[in-house]
Symmetry: D2
Subunit: 154 residues, 4 copies
């Protein structure tokens, strides 16, 4: 497995949808503070990993979540799920694979797979709504974002 911390980005043409799908891989090293008294990564911290994954996915897609916020938009988390197959331990080197699994007018979903040495140890997904930060009101995903990220169909 490559040890680079630089984002790797693979454009995969999927037969079903006839469009390029970006799958982004982020490297994570388990921090001591992320473990709990069971000696393993606490279940809540996987959601923080997923959050890192989607920020890095956006960056790899040429978008900065920080810039999006500066423009007055944000993504709120509407739904999460996680499946824990094997525990993760302090100092483990994990690879988080992130991709968009669904996109609609005002919401979209990311899917995540967490690997250790090529083996999937957890999976998950998050669904997000785009909101105007000032009001918290749902908004269509900004056009530029939609076009660049979702191929124009959000």
């Amino acid at each position: 497995m490559s040890r680079s911390a630089r984002p790797s980005l693979r454009g995969v043409r999927t037969a079903e949808r006839g469009e390029a799908r970006l799958i982004h891989e982020t490297k994570l090293r388990v921090r001591y503070s992320e473990t709990d008294a069971q000696g393993i990564v606490n279940n809540a911290n996987y959601l923080s990993y997923f959050e890192v994954g989607r920020v890095e996915w956006l960056r790899a897609a040429g978008l900065s979540y920080k810039e999006l916020e500066r423009q007055g938009y944000g993504f709120v988390v509407a739904e999460v799920s996680a499946f824990y197959k094997k525990p993760a331990f302090f100092d483990d080197e994990l690879t988080l694979s992130t991709e968009i699994v669904e996109s609609k007018r005002a919401s979209f979903s990311f899917g995540y797979r967490l690997f250790r040495n090529g083996e999937v140890i957890a999976t998950g997904s998050t669904r997000h709504a785009c909101v105007e930060l000032a009001t918290g009101k749902p908004r269509r995903v900004p056009e530029e974002l939609g076009a660049r990220v979702f191929g124009g169909q959000p």
Copy 2:
């Protein structure tokens, strides 16, 4: 809504299963460190709230998770889901309602509803397997625990 920090415990006889169902309510005050730059509670922290909820549920049922660990057993999280309906803010007083929603031989599930002023702002569930801590191997839920908590049918 009662403001007591003492656990409240309601035994509800459910028609479908003909057995008592314990629903436990825990009060939580949102800490500043639990918020993020969106000004709301970060999505990952709901899983820590759920964790508090099930520890308190067990205590209300006469069981100490700490004692369970001393006997060499633990519950590992196999699966979580959460649905975020309204954001929670710093200093909000929340009520977390926890109950067992499913129990099987070697796994069981908790359901959660998070309220603010009587309104549900989030729901979720977690599925757990019972393991022997020394080996990490799945084990049947210890009999005493099963009998007291799940009415003998885990």
Copy 3:
């Protein structure tokens, strides 16, 4: 030790300064997510405890930090120290004692003592500056706050 979750507030007249000193006690129950793989509360989480302590201190003094923020002010942390004497474990019931230990024109300090069964297991302090949230610029502590909390001498 009293088990009430309601804030207890003691006014102590200190000889040196001839003024009432508020000491506020907050109860905390150690959450599983606050422990780490050493089986004890991770050192970073004590700072979150301290944060809870000063929010509750302010509330006991008749001030809401949330309200202060609504008025456009906030306290930034300039400095922290913590001394760990005994480890804290999952499910421990702790009492956090918080008081103002110094107040100046534009900054003030809280002192903390964390107890388990009447024994001090950690101490610490934090120094804060008052800032205008919009600009991040240092500001004098708002007069009303100063008067009520620090006896008019901040």
Copy 4:
């Protein structure tokens, strides 16, 4: 500033002690979950950064904290201090510089400086005692560790 995620390690001969001093630099990207409602990194999370810094310092020195734990030893945190000069924001790229600033028979201290674009935004230190994990009793730093890390004088 180099952007490599690989540890950089500089051996600096210090006049006062006539020995090589290892200064290790770790890159950190601020996660969304590390911010709070002030829009900046919550003060407690700096201690988790410091923890990452000393784990990476040890690795750069040829030691694995994980391996140390396997041998039955651990470092407990006895004392921390942190000084916050400038806030850190979501997505900031930070460089954490870690070094040993003191070593004694049974305890030693790390010093930390956190940089953004070459500017120090925070500093801190932590003091640690070496303990036998099974008993929690203080122990001399294991000889091999002492020799490799502290030049034989712990």
